[in-house]
């Protein structure tokens, strides 16, 4: 088993206030990993630091044994829905087609093969009947599926998803998680920022529990214990988390 993501002593801060401190972990290939933690715990920041979208103060990130700069086209990122301009003049199909861009290079246009592949990806998420719609006309779950299709079109080894289940209907959530599990089963690595603890055991192999520092990392059953969660959530949700874990 090879290492997909290796993070060593990662520090990130925004204007002097620390967002992440001393985070270290390694994710093996073929794992479905959740990043959980309270609001402002630095979950999205961690994804962005992995992608080198924000500056690290200190620490190292290795993607498949190399730097992210060498491995950019091997990683696909699905942003939070709230960060997208849904009024942008772009159709569902053209959004998925964007996923073929990273492997095309400058000056090259997507060819028939690329378009056929983008359509295939749209098929996988069950959204072909909407291919000509403007993306803002879709429901939240449909939008998320389209963005997952775009990530599939990038043919990456590693998938990073930021809160893919927020504002998403049940069917879409099921479609998305089953695709993510299929990806894991064929050896891809999937990392998901997630805040709903209740389904964590069903969804993930491993969890990264974060609250600015790495609270715990490991197989789900080891992390998702009340006494561990309390450390991240500072006891404030202890009764709630207990309930959710049992459910």
């Amino acid at each position: 088993m090879k290492t997909a993501i290796a993070v060593k002593e990662l520090y990130v801060s925004y204007y002097g206030s620390e967002a992440l401190k001393n985070v270290s972990f390694t994710v093996e290939e073929g794992k479905l990993v959740g990043i959980i933690g309270p609001n402002g715990a630095g979950k999205s920041t961690l994804l962005k630091a992995l992608l080198n979208l924000i500056q690290k103060e200190k620490g190292e990130v290795a993607i498949l044994g190399k730097t992210i700069k060498e491995m950019r086209t091997k990683v696909a990122y699905v942003p939070q829905r709230s960060s997208i301009d849904w009024d942008f003049p772009i159709t569902v199909f053209d959004t998925v087609l964007l996923g073929t861009y990273p492997n095309l290079g400058v000056f090259k246009r997507p060819k028939k093969v690329d378009k056929a592949f983008a359509y295939e990806c749209l098929e996988k998420v069950g959204m072909t009947e909407f291919y000509n719609r403007q993306i803002g006309e879709l429901s939240g779950g449909q939008q998320q599926r389209v963005f997952l299709a775009r990530a599939l079109a990038q043919k990456p080894e590693i998938y990073l998803l930021d809160e893919p289940f927020v504002g998403v209907d049940v069917t879409s959530e099921e479609t998305i998680i089953s695709i993510l599990k299929q990806l894991r089963d064929i050896g891809k690595t999937v990392v998901v920022v997630h805040h709903d603890l209740s389904k964590a055991t069903d969804y993930f192999n491993e969890l990264i529990l974060l609250n600015k520092e790495l609270i715990d990392f490991g197989v789900v059953e080891k992390v998702i214990r009340p006494e561990v969660l309390d450390k991240a959530y500072n006891n404030q949700f202890s009764s709630l988390t207990n309930l959710e874990v049992k459910a």
């Binding site: 992608l51 950019r72 086209t73 997208i84 301009d85 942008f88 772009i90 861009y101 400058v106 000056f107």
Partner: protein, 287 residues
């Protein structure tokens, strides 16, 4: 109208004016699409004003004013970025500070040169006085801008729509931003004679916004916006010539009229169509 066409056949200055303003309509329309989609309408206004000191400087040094204009335009956009990134000052405030500063220093430089007619023409344009050399430079700028947009269409699309994804797969989004700012400066310079510095922002955003109401595809929007820009130029010039109105203002008002038409009658976004849909829905519900 026939008078206008006759005059067009007869007068060289009118031909040059029409050709130049059509080219300006096209390039402003195209660049304007990216400006509005990236939420940079205010930035467009700022950069166009910031060109003024560069133009003045170029006159003083006797060089082609493209160089000076690009210099101060890009410097101002760098300054805007620098202030908003290195302090708690928000981007719109930073834009307001920098472009008024640049504009004011431009006005002072020009008044020191003591040629107020030039200032008036730079600020408000005078397309009927376009010289052949200026028409050619507009053409060259136009071709350059269009070739750039065509060559980097893919990169412009993805970085405008989802800059995080663009950055994540390794596109230099900041370089693209300043590249677009440079194109914007070039377009402003090319539009100086037609609509002038003060009104060029209208040619950038009004046709683009009109097109935005009419389509759901970026490439269609680019063509529509260019087409609307051209129509505005033609109508504007016609009214300007026939009724002896300021050319820049006439062109801008023509663009505004087209925008209002789209705003009211657009098939998907227009007021009329929305109202009809609402009424129908209510009828269905009340049955």
């Amino acid at each position: 109208m026939i008078n206008f066409i006759n005059a067009l056949m007869y007068y060289g200055f009118l031909q040059k004016a029409l050709t130049t303003s059509i080219m300006v309509g096209i390039i402003c329309g195209v660049i304007g699409c990216f400006i509005i989609l990236r939420g940079m309408a205010l930035m467009g206004d700022a950069i166009s004003h910031a060109v003024l000191p560069g133009v003045a400087l170029s006159y003083m040094l006797g060089i082609n004013f493209f160089f000076g204009a690009v210099l101060t335009g890009v410097l101002t956009s760098l300054g805007i970025g620098f202030i908003s990134q290195n302090s708690r000052i928000k981007n719109d405030v930073s834009i307001g500070i920098m472009f008024t500063a640049a504009f004011a220093s431009g006005i002072i430089m020009i008044t020191l040169m003591k040629s107020s007619t030039d200032l008036y023409h730079i600020l408000f344009g005078n397309v009927l006085a376009v010289r052949a050399s200026e028409m050619w430079s507009t053409l060259f700028i136009g071709i350059f801008v269009l070739v750039c947009v065509y060559a980097f269409y893919k990169e412009l699309l993805v970085s405008s729509f989802d800059s995080t994804m663009a950055a994540a797969y390794g596109l230099p989004t900041r370089v693209i931003h300043y590249f677009l700012m440079t194109l914007l400066t070039l377009v402003t310079v090319a539009s100086l004679q037609t609509v002038g510095i003060v009104l060029v922002v209208a040619m950038l955003i009004t046709p683009a916004a009109t097109a935005y109401l009419l389509t759901n595809r970026l490439w269609v929007m680019l063509y529509l916006s260019a087409g609307i820009g051209v129509l505005s130029s033609i109508f504007g010039l016609y009214f300007s010539y026939t009724y002896n109105l300021a050319s820049g203002a006439a062109i801008v008002l023509a663009a505004t009229v087209l925008f209002i038409l789209a705003f009211v009658f657009s098939p998907k976004q227009g007021l009329v169509w929305r109202a009809i849909k609402n009424v129908r829905k209510r009828e269905i519900l009340s049955r």
